[in-house]
């Protein structure tokens, strides 16, 4: 093969595939072999679809040779989180209840990437029912961080992030109801995007793996440029999803490479500041300096009712999820892990009036963010407030930073979600990308946020930062 296809990105490989310099079959075989070799160490995939992947790659090769090139994802190996329905392929949602469920349809996002000619390698591991940020799964095992297998890969889309970071695929599609794409992307040192609410159809996402009000389909890729290419393929209204937006789909790559000088960026301050470790703070300060060096203006900002966000998020998500689980709670309660079951039962005790109050308060919070984003164009903050915890720490229920040992969860949810949830509540697009490494050698993430449907701006700034700092060039040391 003419290039190091394992180290290359989608934007580098796509022109080579189009010009027939690379064979989709060879590329797919390369990634499958690597996945089979490394998956026993990482547990990123729950299902590998080798036979189908090779058949799809052969078809892509035939089409490209007949000059029927479909676009930049044609022949590109990718993976899908196991809560997105895949026709003919087991879709477990990380649960025991759906262990043997084989859908007879594809989720819209899956259908769109397949139609673009991408090659599905398999389904990735996730937190049980997407209800957590560790991907320590009692039924399908723990996903390990490719940078150090003693550490968590994050979650709930932990398998997707580990697969991309370890070069077991070039991109993955996940879901994000509280943090679930950005958290594992941050912990694994890759790019994770939660687009604007409604930008991507949620049709085919397993019910009960993300609340109606706060869930989003998201993307995990190695670079910002790749992220824009994949979003281009899956974005747009879907009549099958009444919550998908009618917003026009712009060229998401249009701003990439353009100057960002003069843009105003708010450094968001709020309730999460109490849970930000010194080394995370330092890396965000360096990121601010980098943005300043690109000519951007930065200032500290907040919103008046930011403190309401954990209550709004927890109330809406827990209640909506519990409603989705009601049939299983009545018939298969013993097939949940105890922790998940207890969480849903506690949610059943929330009064309906409280749910409505949360949705009313959400409007206030959203309006305030819209006002703030008239004053500054973008917001930045850490993706996670502290360095990646070990698997052992998470199993023991705590995280440790700055000499403090803190319970990993309280009634607001996992501490690692605190910087992410404002954008699930508001639906604003948010991207996480690597902004350095902790003393333990694990990646740290910077979150950049824009106004609704401003993904092109998000990509423009994220790309400028990515190319300036070049953190994305660092790769985990895994067997070749």
């Amino acid at each position: 093969m003419a290039v190091d296809a394992i180290a290359a990105t989608i934007s580098e490989l796509a022109p080579l595939l189009r010009r027939k310099k690379i064979s989709p079959v060879e590329l797919t075989r390369l990634y499958l072999e690597r996945a089979k070799r490394l998956n026993p160490h990482l547990n990123a995939y729950t299902t590998l679809t080798e036979e189908q992947a090779l058949a799809d790659a052969a078809r892509a090769e035939r089409e490209i040779h007949q000059s029927l090139y479909r676009g930049p994802l044609h022949g590109i190996p990718f993976s899908i989180k196991d809560n997105l329905s895949t026709r003919g392929i087991r879709t477990t949602a990380g649960s025991k209840i759906l262990a043997d469920w084989v859908p007879d349809f594809d989720a819209t996002a899956v259908q769109r990437v397949k139609a673009a000619g991408a090659i599905l390698l398999g389904k990735t591991n996730m937190h049980e029912w997407a209800l957590g940020g560790t991907t320590i799964n009692p039924f399908y095992g723990t996903t390990h961080n490719p940078w150090n297998v003693d550490y968590i890969a994050g979650g709930s889309s932990g398998g997707s992030a580990a697969a991309v970071a370890a070069d077991l695929c070039l991109a993955s599609i996940g879901t994000d109801s509280a943090q679930s794409v950005r958290n594992p992307a941050s912990m694994c040192g890759i790019v994770g995007l939660k687009p604007t609410y409604g930008r991507v159809s949620q049709f085919g996402t397993v019910a009960g793996t993300g609340a109606y009000s706060t869930n989003h389909i998201g993307l995990l890729t190695r670079t910002v440029e790749d992220c824009a290419l994949v979003l281009q393929t899956i974005a747009g209204h879907d009549p099958k999803d009444p919550l998908s937006a009618h917003a026009p789909v712009p060229n998401f790559s249009l701003g990439i490479g353009k100057a960002v000088k003069g843009m105003k960026v708010g450094i968001l301050r709020g309730y999460f500041d109490a849970f930000i470790a010194k080394e995370v703070s330092a890396s965000v300060c360096q990121a601010v300096a980098a943005l300043n060096s690109l000519g951007m203006q930065t200032e500290e900002v907040t919103t008046p009712h930011l403190d309401l966000i954990p209550a709004i998020k927890v109330c809406t998500s827990r209640v909506e999820n519990a409603a989705a689980h009601d049939p299983y709670l009545r018939t298969k309660a013993n097939e949940y892990s105890k922790a998940t079951l207890h969480s849903y039962i506690a949610a059943l005790l929330t009064p309906a009036t409280t749910y409505v109050m949360a949705q009313r308060a959400r409007r206030i919070v959203c309006d305030e963010f819209d006002e703030l984003l008239k004053r500054v164009q973008l917001l930045i903050l850490p993706t996670i407030g502290f360095p990646v915890p070990t698997i052992e720490q998470c199993q023991a229920g705590y995280v440790e930073f700055d000499g403090k040992k803190i319970p990993r969860q309280d009634c607001r949810g996992g501490l690692e979600s605190f910087c992410c949830i404002p954008f699930n509540v508001t639906g604003l697009p948010a991207i996480s990308l690597c902004c350095g490494f902790s003393q333990s050698g694990l990646p740290l993430g910077l979150q950049i946020v824009a106004g609704s449907f401003q993904e092109p701006l998000l990509f423009q700034v994220a790309h400028a930062y990515e190319r300036l700092t070049e953190w994305y060039r660092r790769r985990p040391a895994l067997p070749a």
Binding site: A247, A311, V314, A333, T350, A361
Partner: protein, 56 residues
């Protein structure tokens, strides 16, 4: 809260142990305290946001 939970336990046939009932009750009470801030905001003229359907 505990009585409500016991009723749910019967209705859904969860077969929760006494220790589980106590643990879930404590968690539900923590949620209740967390949600109390939603009742301290003036929401008199605010309608619920049930669909984020913003257009650029």
């Amino acid at each position: 809260m505990e009585e409500q939970l016991r009723k749910l336990n019967r209705e859904y046939a969860f077969n929760l142990s006494e220790a589980e009932i106590q643990a879930i009750t404590r968690r539900a009470e923590e949620f209740e305290r967390l949600f109390s801030c939603l009742y301290e905001v003036d929401l008199s003229d605010t309608t619920p946001l049930l669909k984020l359907d913003k257009r650029p």
